[in-house]
């Protein structure tokens, strides 16, 4: 009976994520066809799945969803980064919004195109790489996402070209009162040898209705190229997101990713970095500031597949009220990956007795000449620092705020784009 119930649950859930018809790009590509076949054999992760031990999907999968439609937005300025000169691409419930998007700075340098508008050579490049970095065959979320392959963006920097300005991917979601809304989209970023660009992706809700987002990003950083990518998750407290992001780094390349979570109800960020060429460098930075009953799970994996690579991972979180944070970070050093430098750290502050953090740093090392470290800490705000500040006239609220900002500063300081850094400082200041 239990399995029957599970089957019903799954059918009900995926029903809300299936496109009504397959047209345009989707009908021309093999991946959605393949995914549609696979879905019937894939399961929703349950409580027996080790990687999902602390994140239960019941509340997410037991709802009835309808795929999100585009909607009316007149003003996107509240969601822009103040003073930032960037190309802005807007998606409404995952669907490209041409009237709100503008590529100005990178028009001559980068190939930037909504996936739905790819043609000819760009479409062929997309088809070659899409689905090659993230596995579609064993994961129900990535398989479902493949059915919506037409939603999202393709960005490629040709050889030795540097982006002129960051690209801001702005995702706005809006649900309805009657039924919950599903949103799916994907990104493909390719940096050809010697090229470089920056992407900022932000997620916001319009209104208070429930949306469930299933997103996916594949990144390929070729020899001596560089991509930096920051995500700001700021949706409303009714909305959820399951994300899969994976980057493959070739020789002498570097990739940095910031995952900054402020809003949302249930979020699961799956991040995997594969250092697949010598002398690659990866930076994985995260910040999660949670309150209410928010649940945020950051699952990361760094594969050191080749020698002489460097990875640095720092995730910091503050949990208030009854919120829950999960950090699961695995560093996997392959046998041939000698001279690896891999560092990982997860630091947490609990602001209440009812907040939770589950943290599991893992190292798997098969090479013998490596430098690796990992660690996790959880505590309260430093009481000596609190007293010091209060003895200098700051009331409890101000003192707390200052210490929270200080805790987050290590993360914000590592962000390259000055305007984003400033904007985050403001978000953090007003968060609790």
């Amino acid at each position: 009976m239990a399995s029957l119930a599970n089957d019903n649950l799954k059918d009900n859930f995926i029903q809300g994520f299936l496109p009504k018809s397959r047209n345009g790009i989707s009908s021309q590509l093999a991946l959605p066809r393949k995914a549609a076949q696979l879905i019937k054999d894939l399961e929703i992760p349950g409580k027996k799945w080790e990687e999902w031990r602390y994140t239960r999907l019941n509340s997410l999968v037991s709802q009835v969803y309808v795929p999100g439609q585009t909607f009316e937005v007149t003003d996107i300025s509240p969601f822009l980064i103040p003073n930032l000169e960037a190309d802005v691409i807007v998606f409404l419930n995952g669907i490209y919004a041409p009237e709100l998007s503008k590529v100005r700075y990178n028009a001559e340098s980068l190939e930037i195109s909504p996936i739905s508008r790819l043609e000819d050579e760009l479409l062929r490049t997309f088809e070659t790489h899409s689905g090659s970095i993230i596995d579609t065959e064993t994961n129900i979320f990535t398989a479902l996402n493949a059915l919506y392959i037409h939603n999202g963006v393709y960005i490629r920097a040709p050889k030795n070209v540097k982006g002129k300005a960051p690209v801001h991917l702005m995702h706005l979601s809006s649900g309805s009162k009657e039924v919950d809304t599903s949103v799916q989209h994907r990104n493909l970023f390719i940096a050809e040898p010697g090229s470089e660009f920056q992407v900022l992706e932000s997620f916001h809700s319009i209104g208070n209705e429930t949306t469930a987002r299933n997103s996916l990003t594949e990144v390929l950083v070729k020899d001596n190229a560089k991509i930096s990518y920051s995500k700001i998750q700021s949706e409303n407290s009714a909305s959820s997101q399951v994300d899969h992001t994976s980057a493959v780094l070739n020789r002498d390349s570097s990739f940095s990713i910031h995952t900054l979570t402020f809003g949302g109800k249930l979020l699961r960020n799956n991040l995997k970095i594969i250092l697949d060429g010598e002398n690659g460098s990866a930076e994985l930075i995260g910040l999660y500031l949670l309150d209410g009953t928010q649940h945020v799970d950051n699952h990361t994996q760094v594969d050191h597949a080749k020698a002489h690579c460097y990875s640095n991972e720092l995730y910091k979180g503050i949990m208030k009220d009854q919120s829950t944070g999960v950090f699961n970070g695995k560093i996997h050093v392959f046998q041939d990956a000698q001279k690896t430098n891999a560092f990982q750290s997860n630091r947490n502050i609990l602001l209440s007795d009812t907040a939770n953090i589950f943290t599991k740093p893992q190292l798997e090392i098969y090479a013998d000449d490596v430098k690796c470290s990992h660690g996790a800490t959880t505590g309260k705000l430093d009481q000596d620092a609190m007293f010091y500040l209060r003895a200098r006239g700051l009331d409890e609220e101000k003192a707390k705020k200052l210490l929270i900002q200080a805790f987050a500063r290590e993360v914000t300081d590592s962000i390259e784009i000055e305007e984003v850094k400033e904007s985050l400082a403001e978000i953090i200041e007003n968060r609790f």
């Binding site: 430093d382 000596d384 620092a385 007293f387 010091y388 500040l389 209060r390 003895a391 200098r392 006239g393 700051l394 009331d395 409890e396 101000k398 003192a399 200052l402 210490l403 900002q405 200080a406 805790f407 987050a408 500063r409 290590e410």
Partner: protein, 250 residues
Amino acid sequence: MISIKDLHASIDDKPILKGVNLEIKGGEVHAIMGPNGSGKSTLSSVLAGREDYEVTEGSVTFHGKDLLDMEPDERAGEGLFLAFQYPVEIPGVSMVNFLRTSLNSVREYRGEKPLSAGEFLKLMNERKKIVELDSSLTRRSVNEGFSGGEKKRNEIFQMAMLEPTFSILDETDSGLDIDALRIVSQAVNSLRNPQRGFLIITHYQRLLDYIVPDFVHVMYEGRIIKSGSKDLALELEEKGYDWLKAEATV
């Protein structure tokens, strides 16, 4: 200005202060000396409002108000300042941001308008000179990576910024070399005026050569067992505490 009456305080149910009486008037400098563990630092913590201590008996009146009823930040607003024995390092909080928030919080409490960025910087640069504080220190995080002497000078610098009416210097002289001691003492002396009172907690007579007290008290086992003029400090330097301990236990 501040009147401490029969003050008892304990930590984790262990009594530390067992009936402290002390009256400090505007313009006066009082020194408290005494052996380790006699309760000197507890007294400063209790006056500043540290939560770890529980006041079990007695009262403290500050400018006519019940000090013990106030939050630590309210005490600062009322004009009380504690120069910490061990100033806390706060990574990620810049000195400038901290000082400005501190000063404007205290000003707000006193009903004064906040200083603009320009006014604040001007004041800061002026007061920094009093303690000969290296300019680069105010660009760093609060106390982070400061030497022992720099931390203590930073405390006095903050005192000069906040202009309290009553300052407690908790072993400010410990860990100071002779030059830093002179700088700190000169700074304190320059802030002395008929409206301001000081309570100086120290182990050594040395500091009192520079900041000459009006009264010297000896604390032992949670009580003030002897009070006198500055000469008492000299006597203690010469004879130690044992003769007083003997007197106290009689």
